[in-house]
Assembly symmetry: C2
Homo-oligomer: 335 residues x 2
DNA sequence: AAAATTAAGTTTACCGATAACCCCAACATA
DNA sequence: TATGTTGGGGTTATCGGTAAACTTAATTTT
């Protein structure tokens, strides 16, 4: 590989002069500058960013840790982060924890040894807390994305899960539903708790008692059934609508419902959080849509501000609104 | 940040001894080893991988460049690559070129300055050739993924697009279709050309003449219509089936068809390459399914073999089969 | 008992870049 | 004439680690 010393030799100058040409610093005559530049071109010189990072103590790399790379919400978020990072002159090191704490830990170790300048962190669950403490201990700035983690103070970009959930459920109530089930992600994830709260809010506002036998906990990754659905349908007073904690849960749920011959929305309405991405033929789901791209873009912005110290010491909390989009999966309850 | 020198001082040994403990090399007594390890723990030491890379001349990082991060085919491929890379002790630097040559070039520059050990490259188009030549010039090993690039010899993992296309079209012929349209990606992408060839193969095998007015060129990113569909339907002898070059084209196509009131598969059958991922409620498309995860995993394997010189000099070409999966989007032509 | 090994570390140089400081001639100023 | 000042560049030390060669005392071999 060509180094500044090779260039320096060819150009009959010192390595420092070459460095100055590269960085446009110091006093170099136009003649020398041009000569050095020409030689750099000819020799296909590319600066070694590791050597530079070592002395500058910054890598110009950020890391993005997401819990599910197959979920369109997170891939869209990733695009937003990537675009913003590139625009601000940073590279982005992706990590996909697959909602697994073990994998997440491996990524945190990697992040530390890579000396990235900051991390965009979408936690696998509340149990990610030690990982975040590790980052904090090593003074690596981070911004939480989508999910807050109890016991961890930091900058964060989240959605308004509680309000979004309330709007979805109130939409169902407005259609005439009174028996509304909740199929949620794991309650060890903050958004799942918020969505549960929003669900309860909506019930309370409409004088519907909270019925525990209608509230289920599954996983955001996929709908873990284990007969839950059948039990739900066999209830003395079964639900006429379901609020699914996220897009994948809704998909899994509907698949099962179809299998069981339960038509949506005729016999059962289904609403959920988050859109389903570009690969859907017929946007069918009534959703609380979140601006996923913005999550990523704003997250990077906050992170870079923090890295550069271009912000006040208080933690910045950005809450992005979700939008209720009514489509075909929700309708009036059967008579 | 804690360095080996800090550790060395605490442990009353030289930095080299610490280095040897870390790498399990050289001769160090069990006593010293234990003491140094304990101190590393206590001080939360994490090796600086840049410093190490600088002297070892290897980064243990690979780069994966894909053209569309929103497409489930590529995200699944990415997961395969990520898992394999981590298993082999490599980090993965993702890049999303968005099918844009400009972005792709930016990533290539980044790759060079980051000194990654190798690149998994899914080219935006044939015009990516100069980018690959740049990598070659700098002796960065790469493996082409999914798409070949004319004028570039290299290791590659591809699908059998020609055969997959033939199978899909023969399936349509078997159902009784004779007027079969092709809505393809840009012909500057190798898979699109192969799929066109496979389409022609199937026609020829069944004595159906190739009709140019039924072959359209769009983009793999999304269905660019511009009245193409209307023209197609208004043909004197309109098609009864369409073979779409990939999943996104099929989705775009079906959306338009639904808008125009053309029922699938009743009035029009649609088949395509590649599955649609986990966010689909009801697997509906008849597809040639490719083992996307394997593309990534095998690609990494090939790449690492090449990096380590654990392979013969000839270029390895891995062709992964595609599987015809018949579902609801294809049926008999209308009577 | 002398020579040869070996165990356990240490010293030195280097990877490729940059910051901070130094140098010297040419010109301007008092 | 003596003294700044400035343009254009060079020297040296350093970032955090590792390879290779070197040291020294203890142990083994002959």
């Amino acid at each position: 590989m060509v180094t500044i010393y090779d260039i320096a030799k060819q150009a009959n100058v010192s390595a420092m002069t070459v460095s100055k040409v590269i960085n446009n610093t110091g006093k170099i005559s136009e003649k020398t500058r041009a000569r050095v530049k020409k030689i750099m071109e000819e020799m296909n010189y590319v600066p070694n960013s590791m050597a530079r990072s070592l002395v500058l103590q910054e890598t110009k790399m950020l890391s993005l840790l997401i819990p599910d790379i197959t979920n369109p919400f997170f891939t869209t978020l990733a695009r937003g982060a990537e675009d913003a990072a590139m625009r601000l002159g940073y590279k982005l090191l992706f990590g996909n924890s697959d909602e697994s704490l073990t994998k997440e830990k491996e990524y945190v170790d990697m992040i530390l040894s890579t000396r990235v300048d900051g991390v965009l962190f979408s936690a696998a669950s509340d149990l990610s807390e030690p990982h975040l403490q590790t980052l904090r201990k090593h003074r690596i700035p981070f911004v939480l994305l989508d999910r807050e983690v109890p016991g961890v103070e930091s900058d964060a970009v989240t959605g308004n899960s509680r309000e979004g959930a309330r709007k979805l459920v109130e939409h169902l109530v407005g259609l005439g539903h009174r028996r509304i089930a909740l199929v949620n992600g794991s309650l060890s994830v903050s958004t799942a708790r918020d969505r549960l709260d929003g669900y309860k809010d909506a019930l309370k506002l409409n004088d519907i008692p909270f019925d525990e036998s209608l509230a289920f906990e599954s996983s955001y990754k996929h709908f873990e059934d284990e007969g839950m659905l059948r039990r739900m349908l066999e209830l003395p007073d079964p639900p006429t609508a379901v609020f699914a904690g996220n897009n994948f849960l809704a998909v899994g749920l509907i698949r099962k419902l179809l299998e069981l011959g339960v038509k949506v929305p005729d016999r059962m309405s289904v609403v959920c959080f988050d859109d389903l991405g570009a690969s859907v033929i017929d946007p069918f789901f009534t959703v609380a849509s979140q601006p996923a791209y913005q999550f990523g873009a704003m997250g990077i912005q906050l992170l870079v501000d923090r890295i550069k110290g271009a912000t006040t010491p208080e933690w910045k909390k950005l809450v992005l609104p979700s939008e209720l989009i009514v489509r075909g999966s929700s309708g009036r309850p059967p008579a």
